[in-house]
């Protein structure tokens, strides 16, 4: 509580970002996958970043276990790490590619884009 101001926000060097969705631009060409992926050659995948510290916000949809772990961490950081900031909802994207037989394939790949992040 020493770092909290009257609005409940932290300031200074110790202020850390809370768990949230951040940009992650994926370029298949840079990955060297453009030799089998026809489209898309790039897309926005997003990623989750930030800390899951006490008190956890409800929009982070923590599991009961995450709440307990976060509480334990707040009481004794040495004994338990904070819960993890991870994707809680992912959506698919369509990919057009060539398979081993040089056939063109359309496939809907699940869990390619982060829609929301949370503490687990």
């Amino acid at each position: 509580t020493a770092y909290n101001n009257r609005h409940g926000k932290r300031h200074g060097k110790k202020a850390r970002l809370r768990c949230s969705k951040k940009a992650l631009h994926v370029n298949f060409k840079e990955l060297g996958w453009d030799d089998w992926i026809i489209a898309p050659l790039e897309y926005e995948a997003y990623h989750c970043e930030g800390v899951c510290d006490f008190p956890l916000r409800s929009h982070l949809e923590p599991t009961n276990h995450a709440i307990i772990q976060t509480l334990m961490n707040s009481m004794d950081p040495g004994s338990t790490p904070p819960s993890c900031c991870v994707p809680t909802k992912l959506t698919p994207i369509s990919i057009l590619y060539t398979d081993a037989g040089n056939n063109v394939v359309y496939k809907q790949y699940e869990d390619m884009v982060v829609e929301s992040c949370g503490c687990r």
């Binding site: 026809i38 898309p40 050659l41 959506t91 369509s94 057009l96 060539t98 081993a100 040089n102």
Partner: protein, 295 residues
């Protein structure tokens, strides 16, 4: 961000560009995407990479590009593409281009065989549909307007009389048609059922036979018609007009590793394969190192 890879809606509304052009506008073909890397790869990796580069590359069929555009736009709108009736609830749609050879004899073409190498179809995937798509050119001057009645296009497996699907054509209506041509779609799902065990499935060719039977509205089926005169001759067809087998499957494998592994096996000398094979090893090494440090 994905929008950048899809040709603008205006382009779609305009007269359809040549598939090769549309591929250039929005998506690169393997040839284009790989071109800048060739000298470097060839120099670094030597003969295997150079040999891979010499292989002919795929020109995506306009049907597949269109499928991709439609479903990816739907996805952005939050619509699950597998809900589309056309997708048959599949999450994987594989296209196989006809590998059949032309019958060069001048005699009338009564039967035509279409060959598809379906050996890459994984047994783990649930087959939910299969279509044979044949481009039928508009009848030319040789197609006499005097032709009347119906023609029944029939598709069956080679060396089998079992009818898979048929389409009736009104020859009189066809003669007055001004369109350049159109795709005839046949349901050939039964030809891929029941699937053979994986070991027997390897190198499997699917052979389908087309024939046209004449007939009138009042009388039953008659003699077999010349497929060339109906615009179904295969001679000198560009890639985009070749017959296409489209197989709809529901894949249980949800991650990318299957394709990556396949790609690695396919191109052992390729840098991406090296990167892939290196990645888990590097990860393992780091894990081992950190464990050792901790110890």
């Amino acid at each position: 961000c994905q929008q950048a890879t899809i040709p603008p809606a205006a382009a779609a509304a305009a007269p359809a560009p040549h598939p090769r052009e549309s591929a250039k506008a929005g998506m690169r073909t393997r040839r284009e995407s790989k071109a800048p890397r060739l000298p470097r790869d060839a120099a670094r990796k030597g003969p295997p990479a150079a040999a891979a580069a010499a292989q002919p590359r795929v020109e995506p069929h306009e049907y597949m590009l269109s499928l991709y555009r439609t479903y990816s736009i739907a996805e952005k709108l939050g619509i699950n593409a597998s809900f589309f009736q056309s997708s048959k609830a599949a999450n994987t749609i594989t296209s196989f281009v006809d590998r059949g050879r032309d019958d060069l004899s001048p005699s009338a073409l009564r039967r035509q065989k279409y060959l598809f190498d379906v050996s890459t179809l994984a047994d783990k995937e649930e087959l939910v549909g299969a279509e044979l798509r044949l481009f039928r050119k508009a009848p030319g001057d040789h197609f006499s307007k005097a032709q009347t009645g119906l023609a029944h296009l029939q598709v069956s497996p080679c060396l089998s009389g079992r009818l898979l699907d048929s389409k009736a054509l009104d020859l009189q209506k066809e003669a007055s048609s001004r369109a350049d041509g159109d795709w005839e779609v046949f349901d050939v799902w039964q030809a891929l059922q029941p699937r053979q065990p994986r070991k027997q499935q390897q190198q499997q060719q699917l052979c389908l036979e087309l024939r046209a039977v004449g007939g009138t509205r009042t009388h039953g089926p008659g003699q077999m018609l010349d497929l060339r005169s109906l615009g179904l001759g295969r001679g000198a067809r560009p890639q985009q007009e070749k017959a296409l087998l489209v197989v709809f499957t529901r894949s249980r494998l949800k991650n990318l590793f299957a394709e990556l592994r396949q790609e690695r096996e396919n191109q052992p000398g390729h840098p991406s394969a090296h990167a892939l094979s290196r990645a888990p090893a590097a990860h393992g090494h780091l894990r081992f190192q950190s464990r050792r440090t901790r110890r």
